[in-house]
């Protein structure tokens, strides 16, 4: 896999489960939310993991690279500083916007899949890349609504983003599942259309069905259907890494270990 070392199976480090992450067997790498870390005051638990040689990858949620506005370089600079503080090989954020018209949505909003939005995203990503010390990977988000006039499929949109910026992709299979349920995206077609050789790693997360809507909560168990999307992805490419995200309603260590084992089983099934 060109340029990305094998990361294995990992979990999102959160302060609420710091001890769990430290003692769980089979945590090959972790992600930290960049906005929650302060340079010069890394949490003790993150330092401990670094001392053990566990790769720590900063994941950002606030660059708002899909915003019509110029990128806020202070946010990019912070992300870069976190990457340097933890010696990360790569950083990531999302293909989304969170700020517009002076308001903050508080959550990752999908961008319209139009030429305008793609041109702006490409310009923003290039500016961010020029100001980051390591490569940038971008993640597909879960959408609850569709912009009315998409000109490209989500896979085509991301493929063109990669072609024009040379960024990496962080594919969230739970978001693919959510979009299949909620807005009718076809995960197979998505996987056919994206350049899999630019896959940095994969996210897996749990969620919950409420009526006719699937909510990507990161606070419930991972559905078997989400692991099926992971299985489909692994049948096409060996992902350099797969990471479980759990952000709330934390279960026992045993349950988390079970979810990591289930992820590893899917990945290993395709490695012969």
């Amino acid at each position: 896999m060109a340029g990305i070392r094998d990361l294995g199976v990992g979990i999102g480090w959160r302060s609420e489960i710091d001890l769990t992450v430290e003692r769980l067997p089979g945590v090959d790498f972790v992600e930290v939310v960049a906005e929650n870390l302060h340079i010069g005051h890394l949490p003790e638990s993150v330092t401990l993991l670094l001392e053990r040689g566990v790769p720590v990858l900063p994941h950002a949620v606030s660059l708002s690279l899909g915003s019509a506005d110029q990128v806020d370089l202070r946010r990019v600079e912070h992300l870069g500083a976190v990457a340097e503080a933890v010696g990360a090989p790569m950083v990531s954020d999302h293909v989304c916007f969170v700020r517009a018209g002076g308001l903050d949505s508080g959550h990752l909003m999908p961008v319209p899949r139009t030429r305008d939005a793609l041109d702006v995203l490409v310009a923003n990503v290039r500016l961010a890349q020029r100001n980051l010390p390591v490569p940038l990977a971008l993640e597909n988000v879960a959408a609850l609504l569709e912009w009315p006039d998409g000109e490209l499929s989500e896979g085509q949109f991301l493929a063109e983003l990669v072609e024009r910026t040379d960024c990496w992709l962080l594919v969230d299979v739970a978001n693919l599942y959510a979009n299949a349920r909620n807005i009718g995206t076809d995960p197979q077609r998505f996987l056919d259309e994206i350049p899999l050789e630019r896959l940095a790693y994969v996210h897996v997360a749990g969620g919950e069905q409420h009526g006719d809507i699937y909510h990507d909560t990161h606070a419930h168990a991972v559905l078997p259907e989400v692991l099926e999307v992971l299985d489909e992805l692994c049948s096409r490419v060996a992902p350099p890494g797969v990471l479980l995200e759990r952000d709330d309603n934390y279960p026992s260590d045993t349950e988390i270990a079970g979810e990591l084992a289930a992820i590893r089983a899917v990945v290993d099934k395709h490695r012969d």
Binding site: A100, L103, S105, G106, A117, V120, W147
Partner: protein, 123 residues
């Protein structure tokens, strides 16, 4: 790397996108009119999801306030949120502090806990 989009066409693209994104967030966060072409029912789903996420964060950052308000927390928070959508650049902690102030001004919270917030905000 392929073509570079020229600056003036990029700046027009930014303007068009800015208007559309602002219109959507205004509808979702500030009771603005529904933008053309969106499914109204889905706008409602998204509006509730964003409100629920914001409410959950404020509850997590100020559990004592949520506890004191009890059953009134949700209703009060939703009224506060409709009146004060989160501004770009604001922090979640500021949102939690502003909600507490708002409740206090409405007479929904007792006065004595104010000093603790000052301590909290100074961090």
């Amino acid at each position: 790397m392929t073509e570079i989009v020229n600056e003036s066409s990029l700046s027009s693209a930014r303007e068009r996108l800015a208007a559309r994104q602002a219109e959507l967030l205004n509808a979702l966060l500030a009771n603005g009119p529904a933008p053309t072409g969106f499914d109204e029912q889905r706008l409602g789903v998204e509006r509730r999801a964003l409100l629920s996420k914001r409410r959950g964060i404020v509850r997590m950052l100020g559990p004592e306030v949520a506890d004191e308000l009890g059953d009134r927390f949700r209703l009060l928070f939703d009224a506060y949120a409709a009146e004060y959508p989160r501004r770009a650049g604001s922090r979640a902690r500021e949102d939690a502090a502003a909600f507490e102030e708002w409740c206090r001004a409405c007479g929904e919270l007792s006065e004595k806990r104010k000093a603790r917030w000052k301590f909290w905000q100074s961090n």
